[in-house]
Symmetry: C2
Subunit: 468 residues, 2 copies
């Protein structure tokens, strides 16, 4: 007997759930239909990216985006909308990001770089020009002779692994270079760090992103360098041993400022004390327009509110629509939200039963990343047939999202779910000047919004209530 | 008990096939690894689209593409490579495709149009300028008063249905306007036809494609008009009742010419008389570069040969790599191939057991369209777990591909399988000037090639031999 027959004959679910399945199936169809016919996600994304622009935490435009997000939530009929204050870092890239390679008899070449987020600038009173040491692993540094590290610039040049199908995993596998490279280089006496951009694309775009300095190690300037320039530089150094790079960055850190999470609430009818949170992050890097990261998640979240109202849905639980601040360089929005959620649960009968996040781009949706109990994971996997008509097939365990991850600390632990769009193109744009509205596809964005809405609806309908 | 447990406890396949699964799983992994590390599909596509260019049947460049395809097959080590002669239509678009709307006191606007493939040109000795009648369905025409049809230009303006998730189905649902609109309009006395481009995109690109004239009805010129211009024209006609359109096309049909299918053979070791065909089509429309349609299928096919050789695979069956000619405007390549296959089966002990096609673009693969017996369909569906790590989840029944569809007439009927990439972006480019190399994504193209190779390998290993 083949697998297909086994399914038909032995699974009680296929027949047992048909009435509820049929109601769910109609609801899901109406969500997709309305988003594809009347969706506002694409025009909202145009407003967010083109009228407001990029939105680094602490910037004026991040503040404008908060106001805009609150207004849209009100216009869509949230029961109330408020800002949860969050103190966020205030770092500016500045206007100077130069790296010039020099060799031989006066030859030089400008490299495409940009500061990593959080980097110190170069000292304006002295020139940082040094020979370059290339490594692929941070661990190589401590085995190098000191003349290969002292006073030099280190180029971290390990590409993202191309054979990993999941580009997010390939990103995770190369991330240490950006996150920790500068301090690892400074620990062995280096004066600067260049990090190969975290993308599979071979192009001249530098991709920024957060870096961290380790305590008690000198803070040296760190920049992302495009993949094409990283490859060129690694080769050129072998060919021209006298090659040096001069590095100049004028980024700066200022005191923290108050911004906040934008929160819209829609009270539930049957279980109003059970809260389902859904959101994306409003802040973005300050190059490009933060269109995929995470303008898409922001407009997905707003669209869920719009479409559930449009089809006349009445949520059983209380839905909280959250536009988080500061995911990119501190996650203070997510951390603050979880702290407040803990207080709410201690001080009232409210309980956070689930949180969903869209922060993986506006590409065609493939499914979900689920961080939940076996019971809830299996419940979601039983929805396969309901989602199959929409080409939604992934119900994988794994990281649901950075903003909602601090909610793991709550007791009882809420179900966490991340929308999982196709990731093959994501790192072409991620944290670069090409993360712009034009690189988001209208139907793909809309399908993501409808899928996100369907997941929220299904969890609202079927998630078991906590038993403790 | 939930569905997940049912699967684990009741399906004999899960444990029963583990040894074979494990060998298959390693083979599949090595195919993906090699394509992602050493793949030549992207550079082959660059050559095909940039050095050779578009390749309409009967054109010189289609002939060049045949020679190129044969050379690549030889360089990849096919046992033999030959051209199967096929007589193909020879139609040229010409250089004139003008449609000018005129209204009021000398106002005019040029519309973005291009001839539909196979259309006659306008009569150079007289001007075709006429009022425009807008319909959404062909059936509306026969109910219109004759002053709304006689001597007029008909605009077919039904958009592709946006709520269909499968864009191919939405295309199929709007296709009659392009395929049959001109004759339906001529039957009620119209002098010209404009067809809203078959795409969800709202832009100014006309999308060409084949049209057919019905016997014994006047042949009137027919052009595709961009979606933006179609929408404008439909509105403008309501606003300006005196609006006319002047239409000018200089396309032309010539006598058929001989071109052919490029066929590379790799003899099987265990069942050499059983043939598995795989292919894409070498011809393309003559605007753009035929990059997705069907340069992708061509380089997918070549890449399967390359990668199976690269990993040291020995096929059990005989593999036939076919670059079909004339899919776009006649399918003479596919028809001829099936005729020859029938002869081979009658005149020898050869049997065509399966045929696979890639003709749905170079986008990220989602799975397969299967046209096969229940037994083989269920066999392929039992591969779900093997393909899941590569995000391949669709094992749907349906049209496997135009080139291989005439093979359905063989007895015994071969298994037909189409590679099914994500279709959300396909019709943005399809048959338009934007179907160019730059709009194909390297990794997505490669994942398609690896998926195609894995399907060929799995069918070669596991397809039951015909029993008659």
């Amino acid at each position: 007997m083949n697998l297909f027959c086994a399914l038909v004959f032995f699974s009680p679910n296929i027949f047992g759930q048909s009435a509820s399945d049929s109601k769910d199936s109609l609801l899901i169809r109406s969500l997709y239909d309305d988003v594809l016919l009347n969706g506002q996600a694409y025009e909202n994304l145009r407003t967010l990216t083109k009228d407001i622009g990029h939105r680094l935490s602490g910037s004026e435009s991040a503040g404008k985006a908060m106001q805009w997000g609150a207004e849209v939530m009100r216009s869509y009929g949230a029961d109330n909308v408020s800002i949860m204050p969050v103190m966020v870092p205030h770092w500016t890239r500045g206007s100077v990001a130069n790296a010039t390679a020099r060799w031989g008899d006066g030859q030089e070449k400008a490299l495409h770089i940009t500061a990593l987020g959080g980097s110190v600038g170069t000292d304006p009173s002295s020139t940082l020009q040094a020979g370059v040491t290339v490594v692929k692993q941070l661990a190589e540094l401590k085995d190098l002779p000191s003349d290969q590290t002292q006073g030099r610039i280190v180029l971290f040049n390990r590409p993202m692994d191309p054979v990993q199908i999941n580009t997010g995993s390939a990103y995770g596998g190369a991330y240490d270079q950006r996150g920790n490279g500068a301090s690892a280089a400074a620990a062995v006496g280096a004066r600067g760090a260049l990090v190969r951009s975290l993308t599979h694309a071979l192009d001249t775009l530098p991709h920024t992103g957060a870096m961290r300095y380790q305590e008690e190690i000198d803070r040296i300037p760190a920049a992302a360098i495009s993949t094409v320039d990283a490859a060129w530089l690694a080769k050129a150094i072998e060919q021209f041993p006298d090659l040096t790079v001069q590095l100049e960055l004028d980024c700066q850190a200022f005191d923290d400022v108050e911004q906040g999470n934008v929160i819209g609430t829609w009270y539930g009818t049957e279980l109003p004390n059970e809260i389902i949170t859904l959101g994306g992050h409003l802040d973005s890097w300050d190059i490009g327009e933060g269109a995929h990261d995470d303008g898409a998640g922001v407009v997905h979240t707003l669209e869920v509110l719009r479409v559930l109202k449009a089809i006349g849905y009445q949520p059983r639980r209380t839905l909280r629509f959250v536009l988080f601040i500061n995911e990119e360089n501190g996650n203070r929005g997510g951390i603050t939200y979880a702290e407040k959620a803990k207080e709410e649960m201690e001080e009232s009968d409210w309980v956070h039963v689930a949180a969903l996040e869209s922060d993986a781009g506006g590409f065609v949706p493939r499914g979900f990343r689920i961080d939940a109990s076996d019971e809830v994971t299996n419940l979601m996997r039983s929805w396969t047939d309901l989602f199959d008509p929409y080409n939604i097939h992934q119900f994988k365990r794994g990281g649901a999202g950075v903003d909602i991850s601090p909610l793991k600390e709550l007791t009882p632990r809420p179900t966490l779910v991340g929308l999982s769009p196709d990731g093959q193109r994501y790192f072409d744009f991620h944290h670069s000047a090409q993360d712009v509205f034009e690189n988001v596809h209208k139907r793909e964005l809309e399908l993501g919004a409808a899928t996100f809405a369907a997941a929220v609806m299904m969890l609202d309908q079927h998630l078991p209530s906590p038993t403790n």
